[in-house]
Symmetry: C2
Subunit: 192 residues, 2 copies
C-alpha cells in the first residue's frame, strides 16, 4: 500500500536492534485517516470472505482494528488482553506470548463469550515480526473453535520470518507494507 | 445518551465492589457502531470548540478515541502508555496513576513530540470513576503546556465522585451515561 510505505519513509525511523519506530502515526500517535485507508484496503483484499469478528491484541492493534471494522459492516472487534485484571472475570481462553519488545512472557486472554465456533475471524495487528503475537491470537481462535479467515497487518518486517512461517502454515497474511530490509546506520528502508 | 444507557441496561452487569462490567460492547468486545454514535454525540457537545488532538490512555480508550476522531476532522489521537518499553525512547512526559482495577501505581507516558503548547486537547476515556486516570492525563497536558478543552467520557460512575471533583476544578466533563447508583444484588442501575 503506497500510502503506508510513503508514510513509513517520511515519518518512520530505523533504530538499532531491528526496531522500526512508527510512533508518529501508528502506535502512539494515531493517524486515523490513514487507519481508515488501511481498513478500506483490507476490505478490498478480503472482499467475498465471510468475516463475523475482528480479533486484535492490546494496545496498538485496537485503534487500527476499530477504525477498520467500519469497512467490514461494523463487525464486533475483540481485543485480547495481556494481563488479568479484577474486571476480567468469567471463563476465558488463555495462551502465552513472548514479547521481544517487552522482553518477557505474558498471558493473553479472551473471554469465552466473545469468540466461538460460529466465528469467522480476521486478525488485525500493527506489526508482524517474528509472529509470536499472531500465533497467540491464532491459538485463541483454535481454543474457541473459530475459523481464522486471515490476517491484516499494517507493517511486516519480512526479514524476521514470522509472516513466511504463518503463510507456510496455510494462513492468508495481507501485510500493507512489507519491509525487506532496513539499516539503522543509514536510515534506509527497502520494501518488498 | 439514551442509546448508551439502553445498552448498559441490556448488556452491562453490576458486580460486587462497584464494578460495572461492559466488556460485551465497550472494553473487551467493541461495538464500533456504538463508538461511532458516541463520537457524533461528543462532536455535537463540543461543537465550536477548537480541538487539535484527542488524548486517551491505553488500552480501552484507544478504540473509542480513534473511532470518535473521525467526527473531529480526523485529528490525531495520542494514547498515553502505561509502561515503558524499549520501543519508547526519546523524551517523554511522565506522571503516575493509581489504578483501583489493577491495584497498583503505574507510570503513564506521552512522547514530548506528540503533545505541546499549541495543542487544544479533548481527553476521551471509557470510564470515569474516582478520576485518577483523567487527572493523570490532565497532568500530562499541563506538563506539555497544552490546553485541556474538555473530557468526553463514555460511562461516569457519578457516585464515586471523580467527575464532580474535575468539574469543581473547572474542567468540562461530558459523560454520555452517568450512573447515579447501582446494586450488585438486584442488578439495578440508575442513571442521572
Amino acid at each position: 500500500m503506497k500510502e503506508l510505505e510513503d508514510r513509513i519513509r517520511s515519518d518512520g525511523a530505523v533504530k538499532a536492534g531491528d526496531v522500526l519506530k512508527v510512533d508518529a502515526f501508528l502506535n502512539h500517535q494515531c493517524d486515523v485517516a490513514l487507519f481508515d485507508a488501511m481498513g478500506a484496503e483490507w476490505a478490498r483484499l478480503f472482499a467475498g470472505e465471510r468475516i463475523t469478528k475482528i480479533l486484535t491484541i492490546e494496545a496498538s492493534g485496537i485503534g487500527i482494528a476499530c477504525v477498520a471494522a467500519r469497512h467490514f459492516g461494523s463487525v464486533p472487534v475483540v481485543f485480547a488482553k495481556k494481563a488479568p485484571s479484577i474486571n476480567l472475570d468469567g471463563e476465558q481462553y488463555v495462551t502465552t506470548i513472548y514479547s521481544y519488545t517487552k522482553q518477557r512472557e505474558f498471558p493473553v486472554i479472551v473471554g469465552k463469550r466473545f469468540l466461538g465456533p460460529e466465528d469467522h475471524v480476521l486478525i488485525i495487528d500493527d506489526f508482524l515480526a517474528n509472529g509470536k503475537a499472531l500465533e497467540g491470537l491464532v491459538d485463541l481462535c483454535h481454543l474457541a473453535g473459530a475459523e481464522v479467515v486471515g490476517m491484516g497487518i499494517a507493517i511486516e518486517k519480512a526479514f524476521q520470518g514470522g509472516g513466511d512461517r504463518l503463510r507456510a502454515q496455510g494462513y492468508r497474511v495481507e501485510s500493507l507494507a512489507r519491509v525487506g530490509s532496513m539499516d539503522a546506520a543509514t536510515g534506509s528502508i527497502e520494501f518488498l
